[in-house]
């Protein structure tokens, strides 16, 4: 009997019990679906993390002011305004691997342009900050050194601001009131998309740090004119990130005159680390789910074995008849093995399809790139087939071993 013939007979036997066949493969469907979905979601999440790290600017360290102790309770970060422009300058000056150390001072402020208004983050920077973030202007220009020095009332805005306030126009040359102070828009930034915290990075206005201090933000903060929100450090050598982090810490402790083991009045963070940690957590979760999926595949295999045993018993007379009219033992064995394999493979394919669909839905919902991994589909379906055959071996063996005389008399 040709393999095609065996395949046809097996497919026919499965079609007879459609519902039962469908229920039998459920375990395999769930298992393969979960594997394909999780591997794809994991890959998408990984790609998302890489993309965020890229938009954040690679090789970035952030120095933030520390929290103030108030009667033992530590207040939020930045309540102790300790970082100064001089700190930033000295980091740049004294540490060799630091390419840029960009100070930043920001605050959420109301904006008005013509008859529209918007509230967003207004940040005082110098051009180093855009270097650190690897951020270019899409239109217009950057601040000149004269504008930085004089605290000119000029602004570079993100794509969201153009959309919200300038109604489709480019915005360049328009007047933008920040608080009550009129600024001229001189540039529009490239789009960056969502940031690590899930907020749009394009919803931002940059003005010269000097202008921020003297005209907008300094006035609000009053007493702490020199204080910064953070310093962004761009490192030229990625392999030395942790070393540089230590050097920056030593330098700032020295500058801030912190002795011995007293706590620092600032924090240094590597945002990529946070993202990597998130990616790692995501991968751990995915691998746990894959372990669950593996259990589901084994359970699916057992249910195939169970149904195949039932099927062998039910079809005892049929088997006896086939043997009587000349079927060889191995032909009977193959018939049942192929049935088990078809069950598992069909379950695998349905599972792969559902898993991929679920992955697409999750990626779409989370705004991740869709990455359906073909090798995960092949591997999961292959594993399903392997499970079908290995759990089908025993029932097939039972069928092939039947004594035709007993089988024919079986009621």
């Amino acid at each position: 009997m040709s393999p095609l013939e065996s395949l046809r007979i097996a497919a026919r036997a499965l079609r007879v019990n459609k519902l039962r066949s469908a229920l039998t493969v459920l375990g395999i469907v769930v298992g393969v679906g979960a594997v394909v979905c999780m591997v794809s979601v994991g890959a998408g999440a990984q790609a998302e993390v890489s993309e965020k790290i890229r938009t954040l600017g690679a090789n970035l360290l952030l120095v933030m002011p520390g929290a103030r102790n108030s009667g033992g309770a530590r207040l939020e970060s930045g309540t102790q305004p300790t970082l100064t422009i001089e700190d930033a300058a000295s980091i740049r000056r004294e540490l060799a691997d630091v390419q840029v150390a960009a100070p930043l001072l920001s605050r959420s402020l109301p904006l008005v342009a013509a008859n529209r208004n918007w509230v967003t983050v207004v940040a005082g920077i110098n051009p180093d900050y855009l270097v650190a973030r690897e951020w270019q202007v899409a239109g217009g220009r950057l601040f000149t050194s004269d504008e930085i020095a004089s605290g000119a009332k000029v602004a570079i805005v993100g794509a969201v601001i153009v959309e919200e306030l300038f109604n489709g126009g480019s915005g360049i040359g328009e007047t933008l009131r920040i608080g009550n102070v009129p600024f001229t828009v001189i540039g529009v930034l490239d789009k960056k998309g969502l940031g690590a915290a899930g907020r749009s990075q394009d919803d931002v206005v940059f003005i010269p740090l000097s202008a921020a201090k003297s005209r907008v933000l300094g006035a609000v903060r009053g007493t702490t004119r020199e204080a910064l929100d953070f310093i962004s450090i761009k490192v030229s050598d990625t392999t030395a990130m942790s070393e540089i982090q230590r050097d920056v810490e030593a330098l700032l402790r020295q500058r801030h005159r912190i002795r011995g083991d007293a706590p620092s009045d600032f924090r240094i963070e590597n945002p990529a680390d946070v993202l990597f940690a998130r990616g790692a957590a995501m991968r751990l979760l995915a691998s746990l789910l894959i372990a669950v999926a593996a259990v589901s595949l084994v359970v699916g295999g057992i249910s195939i074995m169970n149904i195949m045993l039932v099927s062998v018993t039910e079809r005892t007379r049929e088997i006896g008849l086939r043997i009587a009219v000349g079927a060889r033992r191995r032909e009977i064995r193959w018939q049942f093995l192929i049935e088990a394999a078809i069950l598992a493979l069909v379950g695998g394919l349905v599972g792969a399809f559902l898993g991929a669909a679920a992955a697409v839905a999750i990626a779409w919902k989370a705004g991740w790139p869709v990455l359906i991994s073909p090798w995960a589909i092949v591997l999961a379906c292959g594993f399903a087939g392997f499970i079908g055959i290995s759990f089908g071996l025993y029932p097939a063996h039972r069928a092939a071993r039947l004594d035709p005389i007993v089988a024919l008399r079986f009621e």
């Binding site: 049929e318 008849l321 086939r322 009219v325 000349g326 079927a327 033992r329 035709p404 005389i405």
Partner: protein, 243 residues
């Protein structure tokens, strides 16, 4: 020419409830090509076991069995399967049809295992159905056929591979007498075509149709009408072929 079936001293015993039952004991038998033989005996006389042995579904404990010129008593399981698929047609008591296959597909079954190509298979099976008068019922499911029709399908299946031997076990056991007679007429027709038929039965009307009657008791042949029927058979055939 050698007889189609020749057994010399075959025996078969099997354990039953702690004792060993000698179902077939030292049976020597020769059946020529073209014979129509009935094996008769009460239940427990060993006739079914003898049929299983003759049909190569079972293997004797001792003795030799030459089938169609080939020594088959010690043949491997696959070897016996090959002989069954090419040279033996079985007709069982209950119409033994696959319930989820059409009449035509049921008739095709032995040809599948004999390795016949699908198109030739279909043609041959249709011819076999035609011969039992069910040419137009090929696409029917077994449960759409009457008991007699089902048994005709089984006969078509038993003859589809043009076997040297047709073995029937109580072929009319589950049928009313009118339908049973129709089936027996089919057997006679097959006999007239020159086929070798062995029918196992305890029904006298079945045994009466056969040209030779072998009676079994406790696994042994107690009566064999072969001597007389062998002498009569060629004459009967000659008479039948007269215009």
């Amino acid at each position: 020419m050698q007889p189609l079936v020749r057994t010399v001293g075959i025996s078969k015993s099997y354990p039953s409830g702690g004792t060993i039952v000698r179902a077939v004991s030292n049976v020597s038998l020769a059946i020529e090509h073209g014979e129509f033989v009935a094996i008769r005996g009460r239940s427990g006389s060993g006739k079914s076991t003898l049929m299983n042995l003759l049909g190569l579904l079972d293997r004797p404990d001792s003795g030799t069995y030459t089938f169609n010129g080939q020594e088959v008593a010690m043949l491997s399981e696959d070897g016996r399967a090959t002989v069954r698929s090419h040279d033996i047609g079985f007709i069982f008591q209950q119409p033994a049809l696959l319930p989820r296959a059409t009449a035509l597909e049921n008739v095709e079954l032995p040809l599948i295992y004999a390795g016949i190509s699908p198109s030739r298979r279909r043609r041959t099976a249709r011819d076999a159905l035609d011969r039992v008068g069910l040419g137009d019922r090929g696409h029917h499911w077994p449960n759409q056929l009457s008991g007699g029709e089902q048994q005709r399908v089984v006969i078509a299946r038993a003859t589809v591979n043009d076997p040297a031997l047709i073995l029937a076990d109580e072929p009319t056991g589950s049928l009313d007498s009118a339908t049973g007679n129709e089936i027996l007429s089919l057997f006679e027709a097959l006999h007239h075509d020159g086929r070798t038929i062995i029918v196992v039965t305890h029904a006298t009307e079945v045994a009466n149709r056969a040209r030779r009657l072998i009676t079994l008791h406790d696994g042994q042949i107690v009566e064999d009408s072969s001597a007389s029927s062998d002498n009569l058979r060629p004459a009967a055939l000659a008479m039948d072929s007269l215009p």
